[in-house]
Amino acid sequence: MTEITYLEAIRQAMWEEMERDPRVILLGEDVGLYGGAFKVTAGFLEKFGKDRVIDTPISEEGYTGVAIGAAFNGLRPIVEFQFIDFIANAFNMITNFAAKSRYRWGAGVPIVMRGPAGGGVRAGPFHSQNPEMHFVHTPGIKVVTPATVADAHGLLKAAVRDEDPVLYLEHKKLYRHVKASSSELESRETPPIGKAIVRRRGEHIVVVTYSAMLYVALEAAEILAKEGIELEVIDLRSLVPLDRECILEAVRRVNKVMILHEDTRTGGIAGEISAIISDEAFDDLDGPILRVTAPDTPVPYAAALEDAFIPRAEDIVRAARRLARY
């Protein structure tokens, strides 16, 4: 039985979808001849040809527009941003063209926009960002944040089959660090987008998180378990749609909640989730809704600074101890 990485799961998902559906094409910088900056598309050009694996100039707005046009004309493009930070250059095309077309004139835009997000690899402020909330705040775009190998595979396939634009944020720190048995990918049905999952059951505090922070939450849960504090850990898997029911069910059962993300604090999804809980389950709370997030700064470069920027298990442990006292 072979072990595969999160990165390989992404590669396999695209390969399988391109084999399954000739309408699926891939566009991006260096996706063809070079095989992708992280080699996730190595061999695709040879297999699928230059009309389906398209090396683009460094012009994110332009090739995102090309993908939208190709989607209008029957194809199902996957757009790769070499680093997700570069998606800022395509902001107008995504938020004004892709996101509003179905609502305005009924034209769906079945494109997937994917790329490496997140920090922890000492890549500095322009290769480490978490841009999800720009798009969560734009109605009309789904935002998917896989944390596991199986989800990296399954949710990408679901994104390709979706009839609407999907932003698929793959965390680069997970690329080669998260592994699973290849059998996990076999015979799995493609999961629906919009269903969160409880990754660990616990009775004292719910931690709501997504993407690479899942592993930090699980690490903290191990530490806290030794103190008799049991964390329940919810992996959101997607921010749009947001699985409100999963969150609220856990809050009503466990009564204390903490929201954890690598994104910066102000305007992060934690604020929105906190408001939902306050609206819908205030009477079920036995303590304040806590947020553990990155501070409101750009992602810094130096190791000492980046380590302080990205939430760590000790930050969760500290917050959990505080919450446990209520």
Binding site: E61, N73, N96
Partner: protein, 329 residues
């Protein structure tokens, strides 16, 4: 392209209808019954009608210009345009968009965001995907010269050139007083050459020239020769964007019907409708009776559209949050 008398009259009719409909929209705007930013330009009729006349129903068109005539030629009914701008429930967007261009892939129309050149790369994508799917389709994008100053324009065109996408981009240049954005953009030809892009000039006030040049551009695209830039300067244009602007130059029936009125040839050259009428008259292809009949027919169409749109009801607010995503089955 050889055109018979009936087709020539239809072309004239669509130019007259375009002008009359746009004048009515401007009046609605001035009366504050219509609040969407209009950005109308008289003098665009030849480009508007000419650029949409050549493409077949399979071809695709998008325009960030107030090219009402182009939409009419794609099969859009005048009432749809009025409904859209009045924000009525029966409007193509159901009251959700309200900008003058809207989309309907079934009629080969792609809605832009209204901004200068966002649609250039989208139309490049449609053209490119048509080529790789071996579809016999060309994408036509209409922009104003202000688009040439945007990154969108160049990113889209660069891709189209590299991939030999069957794309035609029509760039309209306005006289300085009517120029959107105010700033002058020059040397489009120089820029086109930098891309290895074929650029064809055309007098944007001359309908038959526009048709001829767009036909050439479409033939190049269909022959696999890649994109073409058509540069179409207008000789005259009046701009209407809001209540402080002048109305588009009125369609002056009294002056037109007055045989004693002497008309400056230069003025006629600059007015696409008068210019085409003069051409048809000189060819013994348009009598005064026929011209008056076309004008009256356009009046009737506009009146019917306004009446029907006025009587239509507002959208049901209960549908506000619908159609954001495809429903999950």
């Amino acid at each position: 392209m050889s055109l018979g008398k009936r087709q020539l009259h239809e072309l004239l009719f669509y130019m007259i209808l375009t002008r009359k409909l746009e004048e009515s929209l401007a009046r609605l705007h001035r009366e504050k019954r219509l609040t969407s930013p209009l950005g109308l330009h008289s003098g665009l009729e030849a480009v508007s009608v000419g650029a949409a006349f050549v493409p077949t129903p399979r071809d695709l068109l998008a325009s960030s210009l107030p090219t009402t005539g182009a939409f009419l030629l794609r099969g859009v009914k005048p009432v749809e345009i009025v409904l859209e701008l009045l924000g009525k429930g029966a409007a193509p967007s159901g009251g959700r968009s309200g900008i003058r261009d809207f989309g309907d892939l079934g009629r080969g129309i792609v809605a832009t965001t209204g901004h200068a050149a966002t649609h250039v790369s989208v139309m490049t994508g449609m053209a490119f995907s048509a080529r790789v799917q071996r579809q016999d389709r060309v994408a036509v994008a209409l922009v104003s010269e202000e688009a040439v100053a945007t990154g969108d324009f160049h990113e889209g065109l660069n891709f189209a050139c590299v991939r030999k996408a069957p794309l035609v981009v029509v760039v309209v240049r306005f006289p300085s007083a009517a120029r959107p954005g105010g700033a002058e953009v020059s040397q489009l030809y120089e820029r086109a050459r930098g891309y290895g892009l074929t650029a064809l000039p055309v007098d944007g006030s001359d309908l038959l020239q526009v048709i001829q040049v767009v036909e050439t551009a479409l033939e190049r695209a269909k022959a696999g020769e890649g994109p073409t830039l058509v540069e179409a300067p207008l000789r005259s244009s009046t701009r209407y964007i809001g209540s402080d602007d002048a109305m588009p130059a009125p369609f002056d029936e009294a002056a037109r019907l007055d045989p004693t009125r002497s008309e400056n040839e230069t003025d006629v050259d600059a007015n696409p409708i008068r210019r085409f009428e003069r051409f048809l008259s000189n060819q013994d292809c348009l009598s005064e009776v026929e011209r008056a009949a076309l004008s009256a027919r356009a009046d009737d169409v506009v009146s019917d559209a306004l009446r029907a749109a006025d009587a239509a009801i507002s959208p049901d607010a209960r549908g506000l949050e619908e159609r954001l995503f495809e429903p999950v089955s």
